[in-house]
Structure formats: structure tokens, C-alpha cells
Amino acid sequence: MNLHELVSQLIIDTKGSVSGGLFSLPTADSSLGVFAPELCLCATIVLLLFIRLFKGGSKVDLFWVMLIGTGLALVASSPWKHLGSHPPLPGSLAAVTRMEIFTGMLVYDPFTVYMRSVLIGFAFLFAVFTKLSGIPDREDGADIYTLVLGSTLGMCLMASANHLLMVFMAVEMASVPSYVLAGMLKGRRTGSEAALKYSVYGAGAAGVMLYGISLVAGLLNTAHLPTMAAQLAERLPGMPSGEIMVLALGGLLMMVGLAFKLSAVPFHFWCPDVFEGACAEVNAFLSIASKAAALALLVRVAIGFGAIPPVGIEPGSRSVAQQHAPNETVSLNHSNGGLFALADEGEEPTTASQSHTGHAEGGDEPNASAAAIDGLAASRTFMAKLIAFLAAITCTFGNLAAYGQTNIKRLLAYSTIAHAGYMMMSVAAFLVMAGDAPLQAQDAIAALAIYIATYVFMNLAAFAIVAFLRNAMHTEQIADYAGLIRRCPLTVICLSLTLFSLVGLPPLSGFIGKFAIFASLVDGYEVSVSAGHPAGFLMVLLVIGGMNTAISLFYYLRVVKVMTMEEEPADRPPFVYPEVSLQGAFVWLVTAPTLLLMLNWNVLSEWAHAATLYLLAAA
């Protein structure tokens, strides 16, 4: 392959077509075309940083820049178009199947669309929330919004990572701004302590994860996740035990980094401390966006080690085909590989797709891929058991530790840990089913997607109320909330609804998510029984999940009881909390989905199922 071909292939990958000169717009099926939401975020970051350099720029309220930027990014990602009931026709330029963009570094599929819409949509709500709660003030706005958007950008990449380099880079891009956010209130002793703890633990976990990545990538001779799966499938059955040990060690070390991001026990130490030290706004960001992205990344890595994804299309292939034959619908079966695989010497001068398909061991032939999936069964079982074990202890520990908390933010931190445990359960079920029943396995991830969507609103409402009450009462102790029902009944009702929903009581939205995840555990058990290798640990997981739900009822109810049943303290300093205000409206706005989702959750379910369509190859 000569340089000219290489460059023109890169241009096709990036922009969709070579024709039209350097400055023509990228087509809808090119890497840049589908990367538009992230590009919007980047542009907003640049604008936020530079706007104050210009005359009069300091008068601009940067909140509006943030709001418009995230709004445009949300429109660019347009989940309603791709996941709704009328998606673009298959084969048309904008249809989302599975496409590996930027020479295989990222993957663009419906799951990417769903997760990044959740993340960007949350950033939009977060902007409104910070405007209403008054943190950051006008001076700090540029810094805080830049950090939040930078972190969101990293999280979007986490949700679409398809290469171990991107896994590590995205985790770092999401984490490093979060360290600063934790300490964003200057001159606070607790804030600086929270930031120090977060950054030290985070940097350590990232280093350990990188070492694990180096072992895995070195052993399998590739860092491209689908190729990794193919290599594993081919080599795992006959692999010497020494190499298996190294592989398992590498996997475990990678899991350390992921567990840190998920705040899974035993890597959860940072979470309660950071939540107590940082302000409630940052807590909302860390507990929702960071967790959602970490779960998406866990799904991506689990697929990378445990299943062979379907063969996707190549960036630009549709527009090229349309140019040649505009009236035909086309389906090209090519997978593309790492950029640097092309540059390797000693490979035949073929096109990128062909050379890579050689690596990926027959994605086109159903027989070969079925045999390959069987080879991965051992790796899947290992991961499923590991994740199930982590989920069980995370969930139990989070709920038990939350019981004795006196600070509401700390209590919510442990609640966040417990919820990470529930959400990880669905990934374990997914891994059990991935080999035998891909469609049901995808439903397990759909359950996770539903849970994440409901969780966004529950936690945002809880932290918004904590922040607004802090502004009024200057306290975050649960005991100080005594008798609040007499002062601000509407807010107390909202917080109580949110807490009941976090328990998972019907008819609130938390029930839907929890039910979906528990149902996926049962599905997983049934599939594994009918396939002849019963995964009893899924039923154990179900029992643990059920018991945890019962335990969690007590500490959530305690907060509700303090707010409603107890007498107001006589020595409470006077405070004003206007219930009929923009703040109150925001609280109701984010509580409404929790309350009303039960009436019609078909849309959410439909989107979640559409989101998981191209995760696994159909058996």
C-alpha cells in the first residue's frame, strides 16, 4: 500500500468521500458526520474559554452558552430520530447500524446514540440546575462549565470506545476534570480534601488499569476490541495455563480501573468522602453521568472479551456506493480495523477491510463465528462470575453502610454505590446469555438502559432538592430536616417520592428499572438451564438483590420519617424557602418522569430495545 492510497482511505474514513475538495462537508455516514455531538461539545468548550477575551465578553452569562451548546449536541445526536418508531430506512445514509469510526478506534451503533443522548441530555439539565442553585457564580462559570463539558466529552467516548487506547483515554478524560470539580469550591477544607482523595485514588486506579491493558493487549497482539474477541476465541481453547494466568491477571487489573469508576466495592472508598466534601451539584454529576458512562464502558469491555460483535459497515461506504449506483440499496459486509494495522509491514497490500477480516477470523461465515463464540465461553463465564460477585458485595455493602449515615449527601453516596451494584447485575446476566441467546442477552442490556434512564431523574431530583435546601438552610444533616413538611410540603413530597422510587416501590419509575433488571436475571438463569450449564449464581444474585431492596427501604424511609413525622426543632434558625419559584418548578420537572413513567413507558422501552440491537451478532 502506498502513501496515496493510505491517505485517500483515511479521508474516506473521516469525511465519507474524497471528492468535493478539502473543505466539503462530511457525509452522514462518515466518522466526522456521526461524531457531530462530540464536536458540538468541543466547540462549546472553546467558546466558553475564549468568550471572555473579547470586549464585552465578560458581560455574557456563560450559562446560555452552555445551554445552547449542549442543546445543539443533543439535537445532533437526535435519539428520537434513530431510536424512535420510525428510524431511517436501512441502507440509507443516516441509518444507524454498527459502524467503526476513526479507523476502528470508536464504534457508532444505537447503544452509542442512546448513551450519549443520556449523557448530553443530563449535561443540559445540569446546566439549568446549576443556574438555579447559584453554584457556580458568574466568575467561575467558564471554569466549571468547561470542566463539566470536558468530562462529558470523555464519558461520550467511554460509551463508544472500541479500542483499549480509547478505553484508557476516555476514562482519563472523564476523570481528570472530575477531580477538579470535586474541589471546585475554593477555600473549603472539606472540598480540597475530597479532591485530593479523589485524584490520588483515581490516578492509582488508572495506572493499575493501564498495566492490565498492557498485559492483555500484549498477549493478544491487538488492542482493537472486536479483534481481541476473535483472537481470544481462536486461542483460548489451546492456550497454555501460564498465558491464561497472565490474561486473567490483566483482566482483573483492568477491572480495578472500571470498578473505581463504578465505585464498586472494594474500590468505593473515595465515593462517600468525595460526595460529602464536594457540593451537591457536583455529586449529581458524579453519581449520574460518571456512573452511566462507566456502565456503558463495562458493557463495551465485556463484549470485547466475551462476544464477537456483528460485522458493521465501513464509514463512507454508503455514500461511495450511492455515488456509483444512486438507486440501489447497498449492504457492504466489511469490518475495518486499526489504522496502524495498515501500516504494519509484511501484510499483503490489500484494502484495510480485507486485511483486517483476515485477522478477525471470518466474521462473514456464520459457521466460523458460531465456533468462535463457543471458544469464548470460558472467558464469558469468568467475567460473569467476577461481575456478579462484585455486584453482590457492592449492593450489600452500599445498603448496609448507608444505614448509619447522618449526612444526606453521604447517605446518597452509599445509595449510589448500591445502585451501581444493581446495575452491574444486568451485565452479569448479559454475559451468561450472550453465547446461547443473543436476543435475550441484548434485552438484559436494554434493562440496564431503562434503569439508567430512570436513575438519571431520581438522582437529579434528590441532589437538586439537597442543593436547594442547603441554599436555604445552610445544612446537609438529615436531623436538620426534621419537620420540614410543615415548612415546604411540596418539596418534601418530591424528595419522598424520589426516595421511594430509589427503593424501587411501584408505581414509581425506580420499580420499572429494578423489575427489568431482576427479570433479566431470571431470563439468564432460564437460558443457562436450557443450554445445559445452569448458572445458579444468577438466582443467588436475584435473592441478594431482593434482600437488598428490603434493607434499603429502612434508611430511605428514615429520611422520610424525619421530614414528616418528627417535630420541628425549636432552635432552628429562621429560613426562607420559596416553594413557588423556578427552583420549585425545576424540582417538579425532574420528579415528574419518576412519577409519571408508569403511565406509559413504552417509548422508553422501545428506545432501550432499539439501542441494544446491534450489540451482538445474531446466532
Binding site: 484508557f168 472539606t190 498495566y211 497482539n221 491487538t222 449515615q405
Partner: protein, 110 residues
């Protein structure tokens, strides 16, 4: 391979592993925040050495290729960025607590 060249990929891996373990021990035992951050750097560089060794086509017939070298380059940049942020946070902690002893960071617990 070992017959042709005295240095094989496992030698590099050994050095990488020593760096990793040293860094991990350093992170676990140092009480000074800067010492902990140095431990992180050691761990990252241990991993980097692995990447470069795995990527070299002179050490093994089938290798990670240029991916290994490029990951190493990216990691160097990320390590610098992370160190900058962590040092700024350590300075902020020092301003508020007049110490960077991580054992003194004990106001948040429960």
C-alpha cells in the same frame, strides 16, 4: 528469538513488572501526597515499557505493532496532564491544611 538476540521481550516485561510493583508499593506506603503521585508515575511507566516492548517487531514475530508505540506516546501525554492536575489539587490542599500528608486528610469519614 532468544538465540538470535540476548534480550527478549520477557526481559522488558520483567523491568516493567519491577517498576509496576515499586510504584504500587510506593502508592500504598508513602504518606506524602507527592510520593504517592510519584508511585503513580512509576506504575504508568511500567505499563508504558510493556507497550513498547510488546509493540516492537524485533522482539517477537507477531507483535502489537505500531499500536504499542502510539499508546505509549498517548500515555506519556496523559500522565503529564494528570500530574499537573493532581499537583494543583495538592497545592490547594496545602493552602487549606498547611500539610500534604495524606494521613491528615481525615476530616471526612463516617
Amino acid at each position: 528469538m532468544i538465540g538470535i538476540s540476548p534480550v527478549s521481550v520477557s526481559h522488558y516485561l520483567l523491568v516493567g513488572a519491577v517498576l509496576f510493583v515499586t510504584g504500587a508499593v510506593c502508592m500504598a506506603t508513602k504518606r506524602n501526597a507527592l510520593g504517592v503521585l510519584m508511585g503513580v508515575e512509576l506504575v504508568l511507566n511500567g505499563a508504558n515499557l510493556n507497550f513498547v516492548a510488546f509493540g516492537s517487531k524485533y522482539l517477537r514475530a507477531e507483535s502489537l505493532g505500531l499500536d504499542g508505540q502510539l499508546i505509549a506516546l498517548f500515555v506519556i501525554v496523559l500522565a503529564a496532564a494528570e500530574a499537573a492536575v493532581a499537583l494543583a489539587i495538592a497545592l490547594n490542599f496545602y493552602n487549606n491544611h498547611a500539610t500534604i500528608d495524606v494521613d491528615q486528610a481525615n476530616e471526612l469519614k463516617g
